[in-house]
């Protein structure tokens, strides 16, 4: 079958952005102003092409590929080319029901981000960097080779570093460096874990890589297959080593997710990042952490997962509760939204820690739903900042009267984020609650674990409604526009921003009303991994929902 991933989805955006950047960097300031229009249009068209490719994949346009029923550890659109033969490194790409929603999400968010930040300053450089960001992110999700995965994992840092550094807020230097160093530190520890894992393969196993210096390979499918076979007789690699490797890999992913106590880079990065950077950061980049967990430690080390279940549950609960409580105290709109992301990522961790098919499906759907809702949150924050020149919650009151579009978008996205039924976020949260209940009862854990989620439901509603009350409604007709406008007329959303909001809202409703569009394949993936991996290894430990 033709390779629909390597060049169309990964190579094309990266190469196109490098060419555009090289072209733009040679132009002088005046020329650059004139180039903004064509470059922006080119980037929009390119990203729409990506979206068409992934959407075509979904509708089985490129061959008779069913997204359901892909058994565990097998992949569609699978392609392998030799890359660095001497180390057993290949360019391996493929998709399954775990990675495909993330790839589609990335290609969906790229054009939306471009539209939402249509008038970003220095656009001739900005839009190609967004495109490069998209290519690197897709590379992370399609990589089926540990080396390739790590390369793209780190490659995503570079465009994001520049997005924050060049287009960010006042404190952007500090935020971009903190972001880079924080995540880099975690991922080098992960790298050492990956290398140690690599050498713990028996040379010649899982496959005989005779042409390599090491006799081992970085191939994820064959390592997973091998680990599965070994795990069936007990702990693959032995209990101690498996636990250490699990912890090393999880560290890299937990920092990226981020989970409390590794979350402190996120609010800084978000507050300083430009709107487009925030949208991609919250929408896709955080999901890299969750995706990595499913792809590597959870698939390779189910014994260790069972061992660390309590730890993960605790971290998840703390992220959920702490993130929500901190939100209450925020006066900065964007910081509040950033902490709400931490809280939602806690939902993903709890879903994983339940070790129930439904809990995992909830985590997967949360990744997807949060990937659509959070860009909208940040787009609203960006519009707020753009139009009122302030991020403070109290800066503008009575917004419903002065700028109804921003008010409506804010209200809608806030509601979506707090889990209003019929919107995408609700489905994931409900599934998580059901899975958690079932798990607590079946495993005989204390029901007091439910206090956390219950509390957070109330707190989330509180901070969102409170902030809405202070910005949208309060003040009534007498409210004056904020002083930061210096008496200029109160603006509302520009047309591209309106369009982006409408698209995001439409998809939030679509996946809230008809969640099965995405949920079916995710549920099928969890079913396959539980039937193919968890049950055979850990036994039919509590039935599961």
């Amino acid at each position: 079958m033709q390779d629909w991933i390597s060049l169309p989805l990964v190579g094309f955006p990266l190469i196109a952005s490098v060419i555009l950047l090289a072209f733009v960097s040679r132009a002088d300031a005046k020329m650059r102003e004139r180039l903004v229009g064509p470059v922006r249009m080119a980037c929009l068209v390119f990203s729409l092409v990506l979206l068409m490719v992934t959407t075509g994949m979904f509708f089985q346009y490129f061959g008779d590929i069913s997204w359901e029923g892909i058994s565990f550890n097998s992949y569609v659109f699978y392609k392998q080319y030799s890359w660095i033969e001497s180390l057993g490194i290949h360019w391996t790409v493929g998709l399954d029901a775990l990675s495909f929603p993330m790839v589609w999400l990335t290609t969906f968010l790229l054009p939306v981000t471009i539209i939402a930040t249509w008038n970003e300053k220095n656009g001739a450089m900005y839009f190609p960097i967004l495109l490069a960001m998209g290519g690197a992110l897709i590379g992370v999700f399609v990589a089926l080779d540990l080396f390739m995965f790590y390369v793209f994992w780190e490659l995503t840092l570079i465009p994001m570093f520049f997005l924050i550094l060049v287009w960010g807020g006042a404190d952007r230097k500090y935020a971009s460096q903190k972001f880079f160093i924080y995540t880099f530190t975690a991922s080098v520890v992960m790298l050492l874990g990956l290398i140690t894992l690599y050498f713990f393969q028996d040379p010649g196993n899982p496959l005989d890589y005779a042409g390599t210096m090491t006799g081992r390979s970085f191939d994820i499918p064959s390592i997973t297959q091998y680990a599965f076979a070994e795990n069936s007789d007990g702990w693959y690699l032995g209990a101690n080593i498996q636990k250490v490797l699990f912890a090393m890999l999880m560290l890299g992913f937990l920092v990226k997710l981020p989970a409390v106590p590794f979350h402190t880079w996120l609010p800084d990065a978000h507050v300083q990042a430009p709107t487009g950077g925030s949208m991609l950061l919250a929408g896709v980049m955080l999901k890299m952490g969750a995706y990595g967990m499913f792809r590597l430690p959870l698939s390779l080390f189910p014994h260790a997962l069972e061992y660390f279940q309590l730890v993960l549950m605790t971290i998840g609960m703390i992220s959920l509760v702490w993130g929500a409580i901190v939100c209450l105290g925020q006066t900065n709109l964007k910081k509040m939204v950033a902490y709400s992301s931490v809280s939602h990522m806690g939902v993903i961790l709890i879903g994983i820690a339940t070790m129930q098919p439904m809990g995992w499906a909830a985590a997967l759907f949360m990744m997807f739903a949060h990937g659509i809702i959070s860009p909208m949150l940040f787009a609203v924050c960006g519009a707020f900042k753009h139009h009122y020149h302030s991020m403070e919650i109290g800066a503008m009151r009575g917004m419903a009267k002065h700028s109804p579009w921003i008010a409506t978008s804010m209200m809608f996205s806030w509601m979506a984020s707090l889990g209003l039924p019929l919107l995408a976020g609700f489905v994931a949260e409900l599934m998580m609650l059901i899975a958690l209940w079932y798990f607590l009862v079946a495993e005989g854990w204390s029901v007091f674990w439910m206090v956390g989620p219950a509390l957070v439901l109330a707190v989330t509603a509180a901070y969102y409604l409170w902030s809405m009350q202070r910005t949208i409604f309060e003040g009534g007709d007498e409210t004056q526009p904020p002083e930061s406008l210096h008496g200029e007329p109160v603006p509302d959303l520009a047309s591209p921003e309106k369009l982006a909001m409408l698209i995001l809202a439409a998809f939030t409703i679509l996946f809230g009303v008809m969640p099965w569009i995405g949920l079916d394949m995710m549920h099928d993936w969890t079913k396959q991994i539980f039937e193919g991996l968890i049950m055979p290894i850990l036994g039919d430990f509590n039935g599961g929902v």
Binding site: Q177, F199, F200
Partner: protein, 574 residues
């Protein structure tokens, strides 16, 4: 691998084996002679007949051009470099140069050829770039006094570049400690003068003095150790010494002797605690010379350490080698941490690069420690010989690609120096606005030094870590497959060096990124807004460095293979 052929000097096969060195020698003679060619004549005594003999007198126009020496040196070094590449493409021969009494002098094999590649490549790039750093102008009445001064010193500078290359390649080939030290001193003395070349400036004189004093003390200590080894074994031949070490290497005399010899090489690689002169030397030397110190000179020191530790006092030889294993591991750990911590606090980009070079020395010493661990520890056996080759491959690859991004970074600073100084971090300010492409190149070098994919620095660092982990894991992989149960504590302790290394990479990220932030974010210094001085030579060199950094990063397979072949030929037994 072909058979080893033993060749006496100037007999059959000598010229083909020593071709790169002979090119250098010819180039050195040309550098001495050609600038002196003129209309000098010679009168046959007792007659009025004057025969032209071309030396002295009024020089020809072309030979009096001050740009000539730089071109001669660059062409010579490039020719030697291409010659080595050609030899690689033809397949390698192994040749041992022996005296008529059978003493081994020089060994030419893949291992030494790779080092020649490093030395000649780095020096060729540096001498190409120096054309813009030590600027000269054509002769004429309008040349100022200082320019004239500069013009006259051109030949000195480039002769020293070539002798430096010659000395280094002798170190790479030597099979006898005495020959090795001659090469080492030839290269060292050249670098002492090169560092102090800007002797009119305060920093130049200070750095040259410091570097010379510390360096000569280190050499002296090394020579003293050499004399002890001679006293003990009665010979300085590597083959004799390694046999002697295998028999009775644990006694005090040889251990103290080898320890002293290591001081000499420790200074060259700038390992802690012998690194104190390095930051001063780098800061005072012109940037291309500092780049040579950080790449070629360091490779030479590393080469000496490899020869002494792995060939002469190899771990399998005796139990005594265990002593250096722990000792070297500790030095590696301290060196990388110290280098990175010191770099965090330095505001001078050249000093920062010097400390980063200390940190990189630490990474390479960690790799060397891992090679030493094979066969010594019972947990590391079986697969270990292949593991040792893997680590050695990583070490060689790291030294090769270091030339690209370390020297490249110094060359960017070199352009800034011509613009009026690069001694503060703020000199880099606004580089992205002044010269976007140069700023991108510098950023690529920085993240390559930090080890971010997809740059060459990532691949080489990955290989080093992989090699160390492989040694640490040893046969455990196979035994686990047979049902063995291990804990993470059962790994050989060199695994913790790998952990320290990745954590150090994370620390180093901070100061490398800071350079990027200054270039892209801060405003240029007062009066330094415009574009930088032109000079296509140094820009060509930088472009070459960028290309190597990127190409090796994304498609380094053939270079890895080459280094692997070289690593396998390190010793006849391997």
């Amino acid at each position: 691998m072909s058979n080893l052929s033993r060749v006496e000097p100037f007999s059959d096969g000598f010229v083909s084996a020593m071709c790169p060195e002979l090119i250098l020698f010819a180039g050195m003679l040309a550098l001495i002679l050609i600038p002196n060619l003129g209309k000098g004549t010679f009168r046959i005594p007792g007659t009025q007949i004057r025969l032209p003999w071309l030396l002295g007198g009024q020089r020809f126009k072309i030979t009096s051009d001050p740009r000539l020496p730089s071109w001669l040196a660059t062409i010579t070094l490039t020719a030697a470099f291409l010659n080595v590449l050609y030899i690689f493409s033809q397949g390698l021969d192994r040749t041992l140069i022996v005296t008529d009494s059978g003493k081994e002098l020089l060994l030419i094999n893949g291992f030494s050829r790779v080092f020649e590649l490093i030395f000649f490549g780095a020096l060729a790039l540096a001498s190409l770039a120096s054309m813009n750093r030590l600027q000269v102008h054509g002769i004429g009445s309008k040349v100022s006094e200082s320019e004239l001064y500069n013009n006259r010193r051109q030949a000195d500078f480039y002769i020293l570049m070539v002798t430096c290359a010659l000395g280094m390649s002798v170190v790479a080939l030597a099979q006898d400690l005495f020959v090795l030290f001659i090469g080492l001193e030839l290269a060292s003395f050249s670098t002492y003068v090169l560092v102090a070349f800007l002797k009119e400036s305060k920093v130049g004189a200070e750095s040259g003095m410091k570097y010379f004093i510390v360096g000569s003390v280190a050499s002296g200590v090394g020579l003293y150790g050499l004399s002890m080894l001679y006293l003990w074994a009665g010979s300085l031949q590597f083959s004799v010494l390694s046999v002697a070490f295998a028999e009775s290497g644990t006694t005090a005399l040889p251990l103290i002797g080898i320890g002293f010899v290591l001081v000499g090489f420790g200074f060259k690689v700038s390992a802690v605690p012998f690194h104190f002169a390095a930051p001063d030397a780098y800061a005072g030397a012109t940037s291309p010379v500092a780049g040579v110190l950080a790449t070629a000179s360091k490779a030479m020191g590393m080469l000496g350490l490899v020869r002494m530790l792995l060939i002469v006092a190899a771990p399998e030889s005796s139990d005594g080698s265990a002593i250096w294993l722990v000792c070297l591991g500790a030095i590696a750990a301290i060196t990388m941490t110290w280098g990175n911590l010191a770099a965090l606090g330095s505001d001078n980009p050249k000093r920062m690069l010097a400390y980063s070079s200390v940190a990189h020395a630490g990474y390479m010493l960690a790799a060397l420690t891992a090679v030493g661990a094979w066969n010594w520890d019972s947990t590391v056996s079986g697969d270990a010989s292949a593991a040792a080759v893997a680590v050695m491959t990583a070490l060689l690859l790291h030294l090769v690609v270091l030339v690209a991004f370390k020297l490249g970074a110094f060359l960017v600073l070199s352009i800034l120096e011509s613009d009026g100084g690069a001694s503060r971090l703020s000199s880099l300010g606004g580089l992205a606005k002044r010269e976007p492409l140069l700023a991108v190149a510098m950023f690529i070098f920085m993240i390559s030094l930090a080890g971010v994919p997809p740059m060459a620095g990532f691949l080489s660092k990955l290989l080093v870590i992989m090699g160390i982990v492989r040694v640490a894991v040893g046969d455990m992989g196979a035994e686990i497959a047979d049902g063995g149960m291990y804990a993470i504590g059962d790994l050989h302790w060199v695994w913790w060096l790998a952990l320290l290394m990745v954590l150090n990479s994370a620390i180093s990220m901070f100061y490398y990124l800071r350079v990027g932030v200054v270039m892209f974010f801060e405003e240029p210094e007062e009066g330094r807004e415009g574009p930088l001085p032109a000079g296509w030579q140094v820009r060509t060199a930088i472009l070459a460095c960028v290309l190597v950094t990127l190409l090796v990063g994304v498609a380094g397979d053939s270079l890895i293979r080459l280094c692997e072949m070289a690593a396998q030929s390190l010793n006849y037994e391997w």
